[in-house]
């Protein structure tokens, strides 16, 4: 489906065509849902966000420019809804507790050769989950969605410099967490993976 196809669907939705909305939903449900899931780590919340996101598409369809890519706009709404969810539920302590529990359960350092892929993956996921909301969102948009810094700046409605700064500090925090908590140098881990 091309960009002009999105534009055609948008104009059909403006006429109240629900099937056109469904076509748009089918195209973008995966990326939007997975982004919300990566940010919230809660399937139920991610589904609620996906639902609200497409209700907003329908509500604000007149403000959408069919000639522009729809994905950044959808992700802007997704991030805003995720932010509202995080504020409301204050769930960010939970991932942090999971990280702490995991670190307590595991030996402080392990030889790289004995690390299993699953454990390494869990350590990185837990480290990402322990980031602040702002840092986590930038990490998800950059690494999962593959957005450029300019696109992330649009999604977050902030200057590109702010995105660069957040990405820099988020990566630095992740590196430190992995090195300190797991005794794992990223370069070594990379070799392992």
């Amino acid at each position: 489906m091309s960009l002009s196809e999105d534009g055609r669907l948008i104009s059909q939705i403006r006429q109240g065509n629900i099937l056109a909305l469904k076509a748009l939903y089918e195209k973008y449900k995966g990326p939007v849902y997975r982004t919300a899931l990566a940010i919230t780590r809660d399937r139920e919340a991610a589904e609620d966000i996906l639902q609200d996101c497409f209700l907003k598409v329908y509500t604000y369809i007149d403000k959408l420019d069919g000639s522009l890519p729809l994905s950044p706009w959808l992700h802007r709404v997704t991030v805003n809804l995720s932010y509202n969810w995080a504020n409301k539920r204050r769930r960010w302590l939970q991932p942090l507790e999971e990280v702490i529990d995991h670190l307590i359960e595991s030996p402080r350092t392990l030889p790289e050769s004995t690390l299993e892929r699953g454990e390494l993956r869990y350590a990185i996921q837990a480290a990402i989950a322990s980031l602040s909301f702002e840092h986590r969102v930038v990490i998800v948009l950059f690494y999962l969605n593959g957005f450029s810094l300019n696109e992330i700046a649009y999604v977050l409605d902030c200057p590109v410099g702010t995105v660069k700064s957040r990405l820099h500090y988020a990566r630095r925090n992740l590196r430190r967490k992995l090195e300190r908590d797991r005794g794992l140098a990223p370069e070594v881990a990379y070799e392992f993976s």
Binding site: L21, L50, Y58, D62, A189, S193
Partner: protein, 112 residues
């Protein structure tokens, strides 16, 4: 949005982050109930049309503003009446609704 793509310098950590994130959500799909729920909520709306049909006309905006203003100025009276009358007495009087109706009628006559 500019088409110029700025990319930071990447290293092994970036590959690790991407791998862990993709692994976390790979293959995850929303349940079919999400679309059904969207559809149901759209059907529940007063008119199943996007926002363009819900733009208020000037006279409706004026009526809405008048109603807000009238409710604002009668709110203190409400408190006083609440303290002096029983709910049954108040329900007979329905003074506020009558006042609002008369004020909106006056406004409509003035505009016409």
């Amino acid at each position: 949005m500019s088409s110029h793509r700025i990319q930071p310098k990447l290293d092994g950590l970036d590959e690790l982050i991407r791998w862990a994130l993709l692994d976390e959500v790979a293959g995850e799909e929303p349940s079919p109930q999400v679309w059904q729920s969207i559809q149901a909520r759209l059907m529940l709306r007063p008119q199943a049309m996007p926002s363009q049909s819900r733009v208020k006309r000037p006279w409706r905006q004026l009526a809405s503003a008048l109603q807000t203003w009238a409710l604002g100025i009668t709110a203190p009276l409400d408190v006083v009446w609440d303290s002096r009358l029983t709910p049954r007495e108040r329900s007979y009087l329905v003074w506020k609704e009558n006042l609002l109706l008369s004020m909106m009628t006056m406004a409509a006559v003035t505009i016409c």
